[in-house]
Subunit: 329 residues, 2 copies
Amino acid sequence: MTFRNKFPPLMTLLGGASIATVAAVILRKKYRKSNTRKTVEDEMKNGKLVVESIGKIESIYRLCVGTPRQGLLAPHARGRLRLSNAHAVEGLSKYSHVWIVFVFHLNTPHKGVKIAPPALGGRKVGVLATRSPHRFNPIGITLARLDKIIIAENNSVSLELSGLDLVDGTPVLDIKPYVAAYDSPIDEVARVPSWVSGGLATKRPVKLSDTARESIRRILKEGKTKFYGRSFGESDDEGYEHLVACICEVLAMDVRSTYQTKKVREGKSQAERSKRVQTKVSEDSPVCTQQIDNLLVHFSVQPASSVVRPTSEGSGAEDTVFVTKIEQL
Amino acid sequence: MTFRNKFPPLMTLLGGASIATVAAVILRKKYRKSNTRKTVEDEMKNGKLVVESIGKIESIYRLCVGTPRQGLLAPHARGRLRLSNAHAVEGLSKYSHVWIVFVFHLNTPHKGVKIAPPALGGRKVGVLATRSPHRFNPIGITLARLDKIIIAENNSVSLELSGLDLVDGTPVLDIKPYVAAYDSPIDEVARVPSWVSGGLATKRPVKLSDTARESIRRILKEGKTKFYGRSFGESDDEGYEHLVACICEVLAMDVRSTYQTKKVREGKSQAERSKRVQTKVSEDSPVCTQQIDNLLVHFSVQPASSVVRPTSEGSGAEDTVFVTKIEQL
């Protein structure tokens, strides 16, 4: 289509070659302008960018409190991401691990420049020197194992993940395949502060009572769990093994603030938001609860009385954890 | 302030204890409502979140084309991030590496679900199965070495980075310290597709002419580079060594699309946006250019004629690179 075809009444009305030339110039300018492709930066206003969730996480965790600080620390933790378009993950099954870029959706907005990580026992550091969820932009990255990709008939897709540290309902912004050559420093050991390495080296022993073990077996047999056992397509024995491993991993390195740790030791820790548990607290047998999958895990924490830990109140505290009872939610 | 003080005219007008009781109930309800802290999710509209740049990258790269696909592949590449508040990075110097969460600001907005990575020679895969910059949300993550933290008198701070793959001007959303126990799969080798591992194994030999080497020495001696040599606080010899290493790293694993690779082999590759270079192209000596720091690197690419590479047109092609000339920009 030429501009002559586009503007025949104008051409007829004004006539002449000079008008045609002017129109051609205008159209050319307009074309050139629309042809200058806008970049993301052009669309950002004052450095602000609008991002949009591409899917939500389903997971065994429902509360921030008690969720491991990173997925690799609880490799038996399971979750799933459903996406609407299977074409977007074509070829992803060739990778074993993925990065998940997500929103810390349960955060309350926070603009502070310093933060008190649990392992520092009240001392503050710069927020950018921590992996705290409270950040200038509430965006997190976490590495997860990609176990399986299930494509439904309607072209929607489910990524089955393990070693996941995300709370149920977490909005996801991006998935990126993990490539060690890009994501892991070669030929050198990455340096971290002692309060981080120290916390990682300390795992609390976790002991399950016979009653707790029996309850897990029964609940699995009834198919009442979502991510373990027959409902997940594995045998009851496999489910039992994986679920017990997960409970131990989660409780062995539980990260709580100094305040939360104190509450745990006093047996006053809140568990499932939708089902706040009435626990009878006594000096002798404090009881805390933690929700994992469809289970409510009752446990008590016995502080290691002989150890003095001034700067490790939360993370990696050398307490002993006793799982006393397991309830189905 | 009690509600009585807040509503004296109403109290006077209506009077009586019953009205006071009603008002107290209303106020209590209102207080309780305002006391329920809003979460990030409450503030998100239809899964949309507004994020904001906390600083911009300064770097040796000014164009997307020719910038390495990941920083670890060019460990001698340098850059810097300036932030306004030094308190936010207090404690960060204890870490050797940081994640940078950034915006692909030079992208044109893209909503496709599939993409053709250079190494696949035209074949498409799902965008979420690649590290392509063209994503649903234009957010990238990259790992960089944290060499130094410089705090200015006005409390602003500069993070000196190496092994950086970001273009000058990249807006940064977050910095997170790298912790191997969180970010690197333990006890197992991460699996990637052969087109990724194959591309990583192939590095093009890079040869510098004597003229090019002399020019680098001269430009360094004049202090005309920004990130290498005396302007960066290192000796001319150190600067020379690091800059030559950087040029070789960048050109050895240059990632270009099939289209760009064809252009390079024909010696028609665009260089510095602000200074498009007029090159005389002949069949015998094609000349391409690439900007690194304040240098304009002239090079030619000699295809390895005996090797048939149907699926490796771009990434890791077994061409040989000849750096013929270095100009100061």
